[in-house]
């Protein structure tokens, strides 16, 4: 019977697959947790600030103050949680998190406005979460400006003048790629990149070191199986798992979260395959270099997961990182896959645009596996 060159690798792959399928912890980390994570993050991790909790202390209780509060309440950005009696009570609500914004309307608010005089109201914003605080402040300012515009328009109308001259420059806004500026269109594809950098390498990082700890590694060392057989046999099932994760997350992003996808699916698929080979290889490389499973996991967190989170551009575009950050972002594969993913989801465009990133991912695969081949010695000690 003629033997194929890869049959030993297949024997190892078959064994790894069986072990994976029978270990609930591995299977959970391979399939269930990634899916759970994307569901949780997709639903919960939104950078859009909506329904900000607002409490109002209305000392005035006039038509004017009511109109002002209506302006807040009728926007989707605020949710009125209570009309309070005293500033002390309001302070307590902010402290306990029942309200994030407090509008304090003084007793003479309506009187001053009806008299044509400026009025001041107090706005308190919970700044403990800076992004939310900033956005909340912006919203209040915008709504305040709208109210002022309305007062002005009424004033001009009363004096028989049109308002065209007041706003001579009109802006026609066109937001590309993510016209509704919804953060899910940004976050979900980003999470795809990061999740594929967490679980596949975390699992593959254990593959060699685990056998080293249990002693079964000697089966491979003492057999004629070559180093490529060992690496390929161990990588294969986990590349498949990683690709399965990709398909599941992709499906969830399109059908569950309804993220825009305008690009070519096959470009994304090609990128995902290369990226999976790469991330699993990174884990294997770590596994050949470490002596305990704990060390392997820590090394994976520091060497693969953390850089992907920080420098791939999931939250901040790499261009806005400092020089060191930009340099690191160029070094990690996640950045290039991020380019392919974000591009495919949001921008589309020809294949040509993604060729450089695909080639770089390919180069990564070669470098990582050659390094793992060099690091894997069929020797003890």
């Amino acid at each position: 019977m003629r033997r194929l060159p890869g049959d030993r690798a297949l024997a190892i792959a078959r064994k790894e697959t069986r072990q994976l399928l029978r270990d609930p912890a591995y299977l959970g980390l391979a399939i269930v947790v990634p899916l759970l994570l994307i569901l949780l993050l997709g639903y919960q991790l939104s950078l859009d600030v909506k329904g900000l909790l607002v409490a109002v202390v209305d000392h005035d209780r006039s038509r004017w103050s009511r109109e002002y509060v209506d302006g807040l309440v009728h926007s989707e950005y605020f949710r009125l949680v209570g009309m309070l009696d005293s500033p002390e009570e309001a302070r307590e609500w902010v402290r306990s998190g029942r309200a994030r914004v407090v509008i304090d309307i003084p007793p003479d608010f309506g009187r001053r406005l009806s008299a044509g005089r400026p009025a001041t109201l107090g706005v308190t914003v919970d700044g403990s979460f800076p992004a939310r605080g900033q956005i909340g402040t912006g919203y209040v300012e915008a709504i305040n400006a709208l109210y002022n515009q309305r007062l002005l328009r009424e004033h001009l109308a009363r004096h028989g003048a049109g308002d065209d001259r007041l706003w001579p420059v009109q802006m026609e806004l066109a937001v590309w790629y993510n016209p509704t500026l919804e953060s899910k269109n940004f976050i979900v594809p980003g999470m795809l990149v990061v999740i594929l950098m967490i679980f596949p390498p975390l699992l593959s990082a254990l593959l060699i070191v685990r056998e080293r700890e249990s002693g079964t590694i000697l089966n491979l060392y003492c057999s004629p199986a070559g180093r490529w057989d060992i690496l390929a046999g161990k990588a294969l099932p986990y590349v498949a798992v990683s690709f399965l994760d990709f398909l599941l997350i992709f499906a969830a992003s399109i059908w569950l979260f309804r993220v825009r996808f305008v690009g070519a699916v096959w470009v994304l698929v090609a990128g995902a395959l290369l990226y999976s080979v790469c991330t699993v290889g990174l884990g294997l490389l770590i596994s050949t270099l470490t002596r305990s499973q704990l060390a392997a996991m820590l090394a994976t967190f520091l060497g693969a997961v953390a850089p992907a989170f920080t420098f791939s551009g999931i939250f901040t575009p790499p261009a806005s990182l400092d020089a060191v950050g930009r340099f690191v972002s160029r070094l990690i594969p996640a950045t290039y896959f991020m380019d392919i993913v974000r591009g495919s989801y949001l921008k589309g465009g020809g294949v040509v645009a993604y060729v450089p990133s695909l080639l770089i991912l390919m180069l990564y695969c070669v470098v990582i596996y050659v390094a793992a081949w060099l690091a894997l010695r069929k020797r003890l000690g």
Binding site: I12, K15, T216, L218, N219, L220, C222, S223, A225, R379
Partner: protein
């Protein structure tokens, strides 16, 4: 350096050290193994056996020296040897994948080794039959017993029919029936296929099952040759002295010139004489002792080992005469009483209705393989593990209800080394004194007294990790008896310890029991340690299957199943194939063919006829059963002789 090209395995001047040369694991080891021979590397833990095997398997670099395996220079070209070898690592089935079934494990090794289909089919069937694992093909390897795991590991190692087998402690901790199966497979393969086997073992009594052996100690070979060649120089140098006062015998001989080494075991003193021919009776009579009897005994491998280790001038320290200060206490009814004690973990029954009683001043040994329930039983008796059934009283306390009170009256030495390796000996003992609530003022005095009576006072400031295993175990014992317990539990205290250190350890146990009246319950998987115990219990799969004095157990098994017939034939492999059809129980035991029989005379006659027909000659003798034979016989009698 050249090595013999004709031998299948040849090692010359092999050296290997660890930790940048600070630990010499293998120093200057040489041996040769011709094709078709079973060669044993015999020695305690740390002797360097595993390192030699790993160098030969091409997975460990040697510092210097030459090694050839199946015509390949392993030092230069380690990968080229891997087609030819089967390597089985130390530990019960450590080369197996627990979540894979028996069948899947075998398939993995088949595919890894590219075993051709037709060869695989035959070989698999034969191996499964020999190991009696056919019924368990669909069971995950993780759910097999230790013995079954080890046999499956052997199948996986043999599935590609390697020419050379490298087996690292394949029988350690394995139940005696599996151990027998194991040896029978090895010898069958050697006889039928000319496989060459290099194996290591810490069991001295396994030397006889090899064709040739090297005894290793501290990385060096201290003796090598055929088993009978090694024991031959000790013929008429080993004696047992039976006496009502064995301590007096030891004392008398310590003063004299006759004895090179002595060990007390079960009311007897085993004496290794400095020169052959003269028994110790004269010296004992001169010391004024009476009422003793002296017998010459067949030298064992342990004797060979001990002889080599005691060639240097005798250590000045005599055995300690006292270890405890407190007067003897008396328990009502017995020191340990267990009544149908049971421990279940889910569906698994670790200890199954064990009943036993232990008196003060008595050593009760629990003999059994790994996983037989010895440790769980001891833990329950120490109050460390709650029983799920039955009852037990230890030192007068109920182990269920008075767990805390119990602790102060018992000593427990766990299987694992129980001292902190990075604390000095003194710090360890102080900690132990504190934990057991010894009054602060008494601590220094007691620690000093104990260390000096053990002859270990010079080690007070050393860290245990730098000490030899045998010394560490004696220190662990010291730590367990510092609070002068009346009942002592020792869980495999001598596992991996060299024979001399083991004897020293047993001397202490003897002293504690027979002089101080401490009740000692000790577990072991060394069959040859049975003789140190006053009474012995065989443990198998959670059950206590035999309990009695060692000699009684052996006699009873011999009376029921007959003695062991041993055939030493001129061509043992050929003789074996001739005899096996007539005597299905026959096993190869090194060069001897052995089986237990109720009709030794009739069998001997049949053997002579069969062999004479083929032109072979044989020396036939009957031998009393060994402790392992006894164990197997008891198991078979209890209907437990399955896989």
């Amino acid at each position: 350096m050249e090595v013999n090209g004709a031998a299948t395995l040849a090692v010359r001047n092999l050296c290997r050290s660890y930790r940048r040369g600070r630990v010499r694991a293998v120093s200057d080891v040489s041996f040769e193994v011709p094709r078709g021979e079973v060669f044993g590397l015999i020695g305690p833990d740390g002797a360097g056996k595993t390192s030699v095997l790993q160098v030969l398997a091409g997975v460990l670099r040697a510092d210097s020296g030459a090694a050839r395996v199946a015509g390949v220079d392993v030092i230069r070209n380690p990968e080229a040897v891997k087609e030819a070898i089967g390597y089985m690592p130390q530990g019960l089935g450590l080369n197996l994948y627990d979540s894979l079934t028996v069948q899947e494990n075998i398939e993995f090794f088949r595919d890894l080794r590219r075993v051709p289909r037709e060869q695989y089919g035959d070989n698999r069937e034969r191996l499964l039959r020999m190991t009696r694992l056919e019924r368990f093909l669909d069971r995950p390897a993780g759910q097999l017993s230790g013995g079954m795991r080890q046999k499956l590991a052997l199948i996986c190692t043999l599935i590609h029919l390697p020419d050379v087998l490298l087996l690292d402690e394949p029988t350690t901790g394995v139940d005696p029936i599996s151990r027998r199966d194991f040896w029978s497979i090895i010898h069958t393969l050697v006889a039928s296929r000319g496989v060459t086997v290099l194996m290591t073992t810490a069991y001295m009594d396994e030397a006889e099952r090899c064709h040739r052996v090297s005894l290793m100690h501290d990385g060096a070979v201290i003796a090598a040759g055929r088993p009978d060649e090694l024991t031959a120089p000790l013929v008429e140098r080993v004696w047992t002295v039976r006496s009502p006062h064995p301590d007096d015998v030891v004392e008398a001989l310590t003063k004299g010139e006759h004895a090179q080494s002595m060990a007390i075991a079960g009311g007897e003193v085993r004496v290794l004489a400095r020169s052959p021919g003269r028994d110790p009776a004269g010296e004992l009579a001169a010391a004024g002792l009476t009422g003793f009897s002296v017998d010459a005994v067949r030298p064992s491998f342990e004797d060979v080992f001990v002889e080599h280790l005691t060639r240097q001038p005798r250590a000045p320290a005599a055995a300690p005469r006292g270890l405890l200060a407190a007067p003897r206490a008396t328990f009502i009814g017995g020191a340990v009483i267990a009544d149908r004690l049971t421990c279940r973990f889910g569906a698994f029954t670790a200890v199954d209705e064990v009943s036993l009683a232990l008196d003060e001043g008595e050593i009760l040994g629990l003999l059994g393989p790994n996983g037989a329930g010895k440790t769980t039983l001891i833990r329950m008796l120490c109050g460390l593990q709650a029983p799920t059934g039955g009852a037990a009283t230890v030192a007068g306390f109920d182990v269920r209800r008075a767990r805390t009170a119990l602790r102060g009256h018992i000593g427990y030495m766990s299987q694992r080394f129980s001292l902190y390796p990075d604390q000095t000996v003194l710090e360890n003992l102080r900690l132990s004194a504190g934990l057991y609530g010894i009054p602060r003022a008494e601590r220094p005095g007691r620690i000093e007294a104990l260390l000096s009576s053990l002859g270990l006072e010079s080690l007070a400031d050393r860290q245990p990790r730098a000490l030899p295993l045998g010394v560490r175990q004696r220190l662990a014992l010291a730590s367990a008896i510092l609070h002068e317990p009346r009942v002592l539990f020792l869980d495999e205290p001598t596992a991996g310890v060299d024979p001399l250190a083991r004897r020293q350890f047993w001397d202490l146990v003897h002293l504690l029991a027979h002089r101080h009246g401490v009740a000692v319950l000790v577990s072991t998987h060394y069959m040859d340690e049975a003789s140190h115990c006053d009474r012995l219990g065989f443990m198998h799969e959670g059950r206590l299957v035999g309990l009695g004095r060692p000699a009684e157990l052996t006699q009873r098994a011999g009376a029921e199943g007959g003695p062991m017939l041993s055939v030493d034939a001129s061509e043992f492999a050929h003789a074996f194939t001739l005899l096996r059809p007539r005597f299905p129980d026959a096993m190869l035991h090194g060069r001897h063919i052995r089986w237990q029989t109720r009709q030794p005379e009739r069998d001997a006659l049949a053997v002579r006829e069969t062999l004479a027909g083929a032109g072979l000659t044989a020396a036939i003798e009957t031998r009393p059963l060994s402790m392992e034979d006894t164990f197997v016989s008891v198991l078979r009698g209890a209907g437990l002789g399955h896989a």
